[in-house]
Symmetry: C2
Subunit: 576 residues, 2 copies
């Protein structure tokens, strides 16, 4: 029978061969810190620094601590991350480490949890063990199910888990349940631990209004009471077993396109299509590159991976929070290079997962297709017009907005080698190939696509609007007005130096044009680098209202981001 203990090399908490533990109910951080101190990772005396500025023992766990894989504290996200770890353990590492995730009962109502439950059940992740601490009390009210353990069991079983109800205060029952979980094949286990909040704390146990509160003047008496309950207080700590098997050595470094881009200048192709091509190429180059999608693979072209490398494609169905969470989990401990894709607008559902991903120092690549009004007839619900704003808020994130197929392939290659969260914004319609196949791209380096010695305005554009800008530039040229066209390639970091230098060469006049709402996109990024200067002025073209269904080209002009609008804006600003 398989033993239930967590298996760790305590001295090396991030060893790829260790079991994983995700404390999804991050507010229980103090007990996790205490457990690692008791296990010998750091002195127990350090615990006194809890929540102090000079300590990494923060209010909620973050990977500033070497025994934490992902930050928690925004509830309901941990199980998705654990799913990603368990999926990789079972299907890619094929190693014996197990993954545990502890959740609260209030937390278990988060939709993200049930997306993860669907995933774990469908993929039969029997190396995953979820635990729900059913303590009956939320922060401000009892939870809906209170202590209805049977209904909890029905829920998890209907999502494909093996459910085990235990008295969460009974160590023997818990050990037995963990044993049972480890020996249950073909499905994940969820241990439903009936507990009482503040159990054995006199005048506190099972009462509301103690959530997140320190004990104050009750501390001494409670500690005294607890000491009285200790059995074998002088016995040595139990020994922690090391891993029962090793995870394979892998490298996620120096990922390359297996062959260079192969397009013809002047042809047209959708960047989402080039994304699929590039994704298959980086998969070909490195066996640890994986792709995940949310039932959109035939639109985002991540399906290209399913054809060549089916074992490295993870279908996450229509569950965007879990899609991102699984990607974050799969990338933990540098096990994989994960590329997550769906329509860019639906990525807004995972904003909190990205927010926590940054705190988690996560390393994933995200591709969002179908940005902007240029998707056309499907209408505003399917148009991403705030995605640049969202991803730009993430500290340390890299935001690619490739304008043609060549740039897209290089964006994928660069993303694969860039730490942190990267986002690649992809368009639905075909855009003109403007770069040679051997063009070299760098993060934070813009490209000048058109210029002359007498440019009066710098037009900054990307994706579908780059085509419009080039068209406008030609029209303007015919009327005797030269403009320079700049493609930023990355919107974060923006090439501040390039923008400023080119703007000054154009008389300090910039027009930005983007298939995005006014706030937070290319125009805002440019404003951020020029608003401190008196020698540069900026005019922004962008989508100013909720768009309608219609043909892409007509929508682009109707919403003021087409060639005609650019010509008009240039003429308005050219003498400013």
């Amino acid at each position: 029978m398989k033993s239930a203990e967590n298996r760790y090399d305590v001295a090396e908490p991030k060893s790829a061969s260790n079991d994983r533990f995700v404390l999804s109910k991050g507010h229980a951080a103090p007990i996790l810190y205490a457990a690692w101190a008791e296990a010998g990772l750091f002195p127990v005396s350090e615990l006194q620094k809890l929540r102090k500025l000079d300590s990494d023992l923060e209010g909620h766990p973050t990977p500033r601590l070497n025994f934490i894989d992902v930050a928690t504290g925004s509830l309901g996200q941990g199980l998705s991350v654990a799913c990603g770890m368990a999926y990789v353990g079972k299907n890619l590492d094929k190693a014996p480490y197990r993954t545990y995730c502890l959740m609260g009962d209030g937390e278990s109502m988060e939709g993200n949890v049930w997306e993860a439950m669907t995933f774990a059940g469908f993929y039969k992740l029997d190396n995953l063990c979820a635990i729900i601490d059913v303590n009956r009390l939320g922060q401000s009210d009892p939870t809906p199910l209170q202590h209805d353990m049977e209904q909890y069991k029905n829920r998890v079983e209907s999502f494909g888990f093996h459910g085990i109800v235990v008295d969460g205060h009974d160590i023997n029952e818990l050990v037995k349940a963990f044993d049972e979980a480890a020996n249950t094949k073909g499905k994940p286990t969820c241990i439903l631990a009936k507990t009482f909040k503040g159990h054995d704390f006199p005048e506190i146990a099972d009462l509301m209004n103690w959530h997140g509160k320190a004990l104050g003047d009750k501390s001494a008496s409670v500690v005294e009471h607890l000491k009285g309950l200790l059995q074998n207080a002088s016995a040595p700590n139990p020994k922690i077993e090391g891993p029962s098997g090793a995870a394979p050595d892998v490298s996620i470094k120096d990922v390359k396109l297996s062959s260079p881009p192969n397009y013809k200048l002047g042809d047209a192709l959708a960047t989402r299509q080039a994304y699929g091509t590039a994704l298959a190429k980086v998969c070909e180059n490195n066996p640890r590159v994986i792709a995940l999608d949310g039932d959109m693979k035939n639109s985002t072209f991540s399906q290209n991976v399913t054809k060549q490398f089916p074992e490295r494609y993870i279908e996450c169905f229509i569950c965007e929070q879990n899609l991102v969470g699984v990607g974050i989990g799969a990338a933990c401990r540098d096990r994989t290079v994960a590329f997550v894709s769906t329509f860019a607008c639906f990525l807004t559902r995972a904003f909190d997962n990205f927010r926590m991903g940054v705190i988690s120092q996560t390393n994933i690549n995200v591709a969002g297709s179908h940005c902007g009004v240029s998707i056309g007839e499907d209408g505003p619900s399917q148009m991403a017009l705030e995605d640049l704003a969202m991803f730009r808020t993430l500290p340390g994130a890299t935001v690619f907005y490739p304008s043609d197929a060549v740039a897209t392939e290089r964006a994928v290659e660069l993303a694969a080698n860039t730490k942190g969260i990267t986002f690649i914004r992809l368009s639905r319609p075909a855009t003109t190939i403007v770069y040679a196949n051997d063009e070299v791209f760098e993060i934070g380096k813009a490209k000048v696509v058109k210029q002359s010695d007498s440019d009066k305005v710098l037009v900054v554009a990307a994706g579908v609007t780059l085509d419009e800008a080039v068209k406008a530039a030609k029209n303007l040229e015919a009327s005797g007005v030269n403009v320079r066209v700049l493609d930023p390639f990355t919107v974060k970091p923006l090439d501040a130096e390039g923008v400023i230098k080119n703007a000054l060469e154009c008389g300090g006049r910039i027009v930005t044009v983007e298939d995005h709402y006014p706030e937070g996109g290319i125009g805002s990024a440019v404003a951020d680098v020029v608003s401190g200067r008196r020698d540069i002025v900026l005019k922004k073209l962008c989508v100013q209202e909720v768009p309608r269904s219609g043909p892409p080209k007509i929508l682009i002009e109707k919403y003021g981001i087409g060639a005609d609008s650019i010509v008009k804006a240039v003429n308005e600003i050219k003498d400013a």
Copy 2:
């Protein structure tokens, strides 16, 4: 026995007394449009304009059509909205109208759906009937459960629904199921309709790769085949019964604070606390004001409503997507003025609900507390540092950032009377009362808090940073440098005129300072109104990295948004 038919006054689709129908699987729009045409609302010939620019029959439904309450097309959100409608129908309107929501099976995996299921089950919404169209096929793959109808039934029953499995192609079975739903008391019903995608379409039915595709050259033969199946084709359309009872007349106009703010200049109080006070006051003034929270009511102070008006507080537990969805539903057809609150950082989970809310022309008020590093020891997972960026992207939204208790009470009052989505950003620590109780506030009108005739720099600040700015101004004054301090009150719309006028009076120099990340906040809003001018320069102070746990005042200075940082920035820019 209660009859199952939908009850509508067809000529007045938005009548408050009608049944509600939410097509959560918005991509099925054509069939909904056809049904309303058949019911006589508009000519059948209009259907030929589907997805045309000059028609409101868009690719996915929006309330540009008078028979649509909320836009759909981003999956999994409809049931939350339906929950809000049903909750109001049962508990506030106490009217006989019923609410129906049709979802897809692929869609049913969205976590948002299970948050809504928890809600409907807990509140025993027996006037709600969900339908899941289990057609086995997603866009790019079969769904995980395919046609496992029993497992679907187990799922919905474990969430408190009465589950009924039917052959979705059998009208008689469907009618019987709707009857059963209408007569089931004490719990909501979920009809699980087993169907085949493209049923009765030869060579298309039950096959992959037909999602979202037009029939092309198969059209004629399919239509011919379907015509052959029609029974009683010449029979008149069945009559649609009108509502069986009237919803009460209500007014949500001219909501006022029941008494003016009552604070003392120079005292300090957290704006979140003033929010609770104001919320109770507007509830006192209008019986249709309601409050919703996600188990944070003792932190956001929405708990003030539970004390005085328990019947108008809806606890939504830790389910932020559903919290917002229920708010949107409750506000439909002007039934209520809904105030939704939780920690601002957790509102990022509902970004897609807000995005769709805008397309839905929804009318809700959102309050987000605990913004920024000033929350202190709980650490970065609980700090909202991207909320202004998120809400600013929403077309037509109003973003309040009140700096003291007086401004907060007026923000609540203004929000209650402002159409669209409003957001009120609230702080955890106490901030100084700087406004008299009779100060008049307007949307888009900034307040000058400190000024002189010789100001060299305009400092724009809000919330905790307004206190810091005033302190910095006093320190600077002592060293002979006068600065003007401006409180924007609303960040969207920003008082462009006020900012520009005051900036020009300060030599065209602005410093913005905010408890927010660099992108999308106050600094960006100010940049947007000044980046087109050569006579104004801007320097932004904001939080530039992922913060740590620590005491609020120390974090404010450590992350560069405290009085010392402001003094430094002013000295750097004062001669620019």
